[in-house]
Symmetry: C2
Subunit: 474 residues, 2 copies
């Protein structure tokens, strides 16, 4: 069966269209986070939508499992080849043309395999702006961003990827093409089918193209770092900032003191940003096109916040270099955290108003399970998105660390549920959050999700076992 598949792919996609030996397929078995999947049946690299459809039709007829793959920056092991049932990896990397850009309509039409940065660059070249912004934007593909409903740094102002998709082209598991690539800002005609595939992590169809919404490029921006007494003050300051910076706020990041310290360790060129240390910091950005006095806007916020005792001190970057340096804290702290080896990374969401109470209770929970574990909780306050991470005590060996972190995660997720929160704000479910996800579903939710899967992928061969468990028990 594998030989026949490979012969079919070679004939159908040409010599560049298929990789079948282990050396060549190796890089499709690894993701950004270092996780590893099994060796796939082969890697198909179609360069057109029709080629994708041909591959899917063949696999449908021959009952061959398929997993689509974008840039490999997922964090939930959704795109890695399955360990139990050999899968064909369908890489979108050669389907990577910018199809059209309409600067008057503020839209861009792209192949799914376009790298996010290329989409952003193409927009910029026409004085437009594609707002999706992620750490992985130099390698992740827009089809993957859509399939995972990626979030990132600009959600506060521009929404998740879902809000940026106007049209979608999808190859269904049976090879049929579902296409609505009309560049329309408004369209209320029947069920909005594209919504099914956005965030479905490639389990219902393969996104091959999209029409995306563009915005005016906010040519001017200002970055400030503000020291606050506690998380409660940060929550209040957020309300103030939304109002005094109007809808121009693009980032409002919570950074605890411990993260500043991790950043200082990881990047020795950085200096402590304010005269005195503060328990928590806010990294804030406003951006605008046109002629607006952004400095005055932030200074008003400073004085209002000071008056209400919501902040102690702050620095407003006076140059692009200084702004970049403030953002560097956000990146260096991740590096500092990474250096500590095995640790728990979460991606939870809560009502913004619950952040403070949740934070306290979660810290207590961790302290009870392991007094020497260290909590590193930072996040996008405006989205209620908290990366509540835990570094285990340094004395433990890796197995003990993993066991401890597993226990902590389980109890944390229970607390998240008590607070009406989400166990995955932006990373998705994939494989690694599946059991916690399934435990959270009501019977009707499960039934409808299972029904959607059956409706669109009746043989269950597409990205099987991600989000929902396999229906056949394989």
């Amino acid at each position: 069966m594998r030989d026949e598949l490979i012969t079919f792919l070679q004939q159908s996609l040409g010599p560049n269209g298929v990789l079948s030996n282990a050396n060549d397929t190796e890089r499709y078995c690894l993701d950004w986070a270092g996780a590893r999947g099994a060796e796939p049946l082969a890697v198909a690299r179609p360069a057109s939508v029709d080629d994708v459809a041909d591959v899917m039709r063949y696999c449908h007829q021959h009952d061959i499992p398929v997993v689509p793959q974008g840039g490999g920056s997922g964090l939930v092991e959704g795109a890695l080849p399955d360990r139990h049932t050999p899968e064909l990896v369908l890489s979108l990397e050669r389907l990577n043309r910018i199809r059209a850009l309409d600067a008057i309509n503020f839209t861009i039409s792209v192949d799914a395999g376009c790298v996010l940065q290329e989409v952003k660059d193409a927009a910029l070249a026409e004085d437009c702006f594609f707002p999706l912004a992620l750490g992985a934007q130099g390698s992740c593909q827009i089809g993957g961003n859509i399939s995972t409903n990626a979030g990132g740094l600009n959600v506060l102002r521009y929404g998740m990827t879902r809000q940026l998709v106007l049209g979608l082209e999808v190859v269904l598991p049976d090879g049929r093409i579902l296409s609505d690539m009309r560049p329309l800002h408004k369209n209320n005609t029947g069920y909005d089918l594209k919504q099914l595939f956005i965030g479905a992590e490639g389990t219902l169809g393969i996104v091959t193209g999209a029409v995306l919404k563009l915005c005016p490029q906010p040519a001017n921006s200002r970055v400030a770092l503000i020291g606050c007494p506690d998380v409660r003050a940060v929550m209040q300051l957020y309300g103030l900032a939304r109002r005094s910076c109007c809808d121009l706020l693009t980032a409002f990041e919570l950074i605890p003191r411990r993260c500043i310290e991790l950043a200082l360790e990881a990047a020795p060129t950085l200096r402590d940003p304010l005269d005195e240390p503060h328990p928590v910091y806010v990294l804030l950005e406003v951006a605008a096109s046109g002629e607006l006095d952004l400095d005055a806007m932030i200074e008003t916020l400073f004085s209002q916040g000071m008056e209400r005792q919501l902040l102690g001190d702050g620095v407003l970057a006076s140059s692009e270099a200084q702004a970049a340096q403030l953002w560097q804290f956000r990146e260096a702290m991740l590096e500092g955290q990474q250096r500590r080896g095995v640790h728990l990374r979460t991606d939870i969401a809560l009502p913004i108003s619950a952040l403070d109470t949740f934070h306290h209770q979660a810290e207590r929970l961790v302290a009870e399970l392991s007094p020497d574990a260290e909590v590193i909780a930072y996040g996008h306050v405006g989205d209620g998105n908290l990366h509540f991470n835990v570094l285990p005590p340094t004395g433990l060996d890796d197995d003990d660390k993993l066991a401890l972190l597993h226990d902590i995660e389980e109890q944390l997720f229970e607390l998240v549920t008590e607070f009406d929160g989400s166990i995955s704000a932006e990373h998705g479910i994939g494989r690694i959050k599946q059991s916690a996800f399934l435990a959270s579903l009501s019977a009707p939710e499960y039934d409808i999700m299972r029904g959607l899967k059956r409706l669109l992928d009746p043989r269950g061969n597409l990205s099987a076992g991600r989000i929902l468990p396999r229906s056949d028990g394989r």
Copy 2:
């Protein structure tokens, strides 16, 4: 069967919960546009989600057709009781509590039967803003807005209703409750089921509650009316306005000279707004919280537009009264149009960049079919949404007018399709756009939509015949 139903409803919902005689049910058979449905089996008026579930469970068991109803301001006859198969009207009007408002989280949780204006007022009372704004906001219900994915005046800045819904509670056709009312701004856990019900026009489930996103109230606004040489210039001016007014543009309406004249006829207190008449006008609004110089912003746009010969003249309202007067043109022109009796109203969407060419071709098309018909084409330029309306020649009788308008609509819709447009930008499909809608669907689109209907409403008793035709041919 009807008697038993009414007895059940009386027992289950109490005396206020059911209306069964024709005098009482009359008002549920009429909509805003004056269309009339058949007499229903009865009108059920449940006052709690559990009551809605009880009614649906009973109807599911007894195979009774049901149509949910909001405020009755739909324009596609989706909520009117069926003429062929008697239906139970399920009115949400008594399910009308504001459940919670969280000003720090910028969210409000509401029953589906809340009137839109009440939701907006509740937000304002906490210094927040719910941006959905429609002509019918004093009577339409938020559940109806969600079920039809309502658009309205603020789409340019805040999106359609879909973008404002964070959580949803739905009673399924079999009476089960599907509920995710977590007030979360981010949540990437599995298939986003709420998307199925938003814009489904009540055919897949009954929306009973929602969590909505709030924004800061933009306390300051400025309105301007600008005279332009042609639609092409308006398109260019829009790009300029998006940039120089940043993301603060809340309205950018195209108004042809003919509409100004209709408005002047309908509202004799209005005066011609600019010294000279212009072929087309733009009504523009910017709004912001915080301290921004909005006048300077608009003046910059004026001078940039003047320089590029995109505009001839303009007026910036210097008081709230003057701003209201400029908006009055937008309303009075609708009244003027209404006075002309039978006419064709469309609600189409196009790529913004195609507005000019489409407009020319569509005018030619109308002139060929009826040289004396008059075109009134205005719309939300920033959304690509054009109300391309046609007044038939005054000499014809009503039947001839209707026949002519039917022909014009058919050919207009073909032209819309050629231009990659939508035949329903915001009004939906309901019954009256069904045949044009079905003709536009590809086979996979139809199959999946039919599959969704079967998955969620296997007996086909909920809002049967809206969007999709009945599956049983009844």
